[in-house]
């Protein structure tokens, strides 16, 4: 019985494969080409559309985990409202722009969907308990990439140090000399810090010593 079944599946599969390998005797080459082009445009366009649709603040906030925790903390920070009205939304900082890294991050995000289903952080208490772990993930990634997402907008070379306050000017000049990266100092700029943040920071710096920029 099982033999028959597998043989039948194999037959069907090889039949399909055979049909794909053989030249078409029924459809014209032009028709195949045209339908291929149309299908290609629709599929590639659809892929990019889905990629962009999941790369918006609205999409992120469609989960209450994001809206009620990280987004409410983000409101009122310098990246949300400022004198020129230029905003950085969730994906600007949390999704890389180069295609390869973007794809990797998008695939990683499937794990986030899994935890959404599990309800890992579906209450404020659960979120606060996990905050140190989640924050450390972001800090580690930012250190490893030399704060790539910050630098999409904040270019060290484009800093006008004369327009910064004396405190910022001194520290930025120092940071550039020491080869520090943005996240080394700017933790908790858009979200609240976790309890025990400074201890976690020291441990992270120790474990990643020499891993960032030369």
């Amino acid at each position: 019985m099982s033999n028959d079944n597998s043989a039948g599946e194999k037959g069907l599969l090889s039949g399909w494969w055979g049909a794909l390998c053989k030249p078409s005797s029924r459809w014209s080459l032009g028709g195949l080409l045209a339908s291929g082009i149309v299908l290609g445009v629709v599929l590639w366009g659809g892929f990019n559309w889905a990629l962009e649709a999941t790369n918006t603040e609205t999409f992120c906030l469609s989960c209450h985990e994001m809206e009620q925790n990280v987004y409410r903390e983000f409101r009122g920070t310098i990246h949300d409202s400022n004198r020129s009205g230029v905003r950085a939304t969730c994906p600007d900082c949390h999704v890389p722009r180069p295609w390869v890294y973007k794809m990797i991050r998008k695939i990683q995000a499937s794990n986030e969907i899994w935890h959404k289903i599990l309800g890992s952080i579906d209450t404020r208490e659960k979120f606060e308990a996990k905050r140190i772990e989640l924050a450390t993930h972001v800090w580690t990634a930012m250190k490893a990439t030399d704060s790539r997402e910050c630098r999409n907008c904040h270019d060290f070379g484009a800093f006008d140090l004369t327009r910064q306050t004396s405190r910022a000017r001194n520290r930025h000049a120092e940071a550039e000399q020491q080869g520090k990266t943005c996240i080394d100092c700017h933790k908790g700029v858009a979200h609240q810090l976790p309890a025990g943040a400074f201890k976690a920071e020291r441990e992270l710096n120790k474990s990643m010593e020499g891993e960032t920029k030369p």
Binding site: T165, Q192, L193, P194, A195
Partner: protein, 151 residues
């Protein structure tokens, strides 16, 4: 009977009308200490920038030092106190920031601890930044540093 009701209604209407007029006249007479009319909403407060990088002198010996930078972005709650990230030892050495005075480590029993005491945890209760606002009323206060009689 009908004329009586009519008369009462007329009297009431007149009384109410005069009352409204009287109230309007009254509001104009009231002098407000604020620049806006007494029956108008207050003008929005002026916006002043925090003075950055200035050294604020103490006006008297026990005055908590004032903060020469803006602090609105620094979180102070049960989880973290971002002031301590630069001003507590050993961060103060690394960040070249003024160190918290040792008095802040003494607990209510007078025993020195290794962490900032809970009584002193909320830095912004005493240490505040300054804006370049002029005093609203005249003030004859003189800092103790100008009082030469003392020394």
């Amino acid at each position: 009977m009908k004329t009586k009701i009519k008369a009462i209604a007329l009297a009431l209407a007149l009384a109410l009308g005069f009352g409204v007029l009287g109230a309007a006249a009254g509001a104009a007479d009231v002098k407000s200490l604020r620049p806006t009319e007494a029956n108008q909403p207050d003008a929005p407060p002026a916006i002043f920038k925090v003075v950055e990088g200035a050294k604020h002198d103490r006006a008297y010996r026990q005055q908590p030092p004032m903060v020469p930078h803006s602090i609105d972005k620094y979180e102070t709650d049960i989880k973290v106190n971002q002031c301590l990230r630069c001003h507590e030892w050993p961060f103060s050495d690394q960040e070249k920031a003024p160190k918290i005075s040792d008095m802040h480590y003494i607990d209510r029993n007078g025993i020195r601890q290794d962490t900032v005491n809970g009584n002193r945890y909320f830095c912004k209760q005493c240490h505040v930044p300054q804006v370049d606002a002029k005093p609203l009323v005249d003030n004859k206060f003189q800092p103790a540093t100008l009082n030469t009689n003392l020394r």
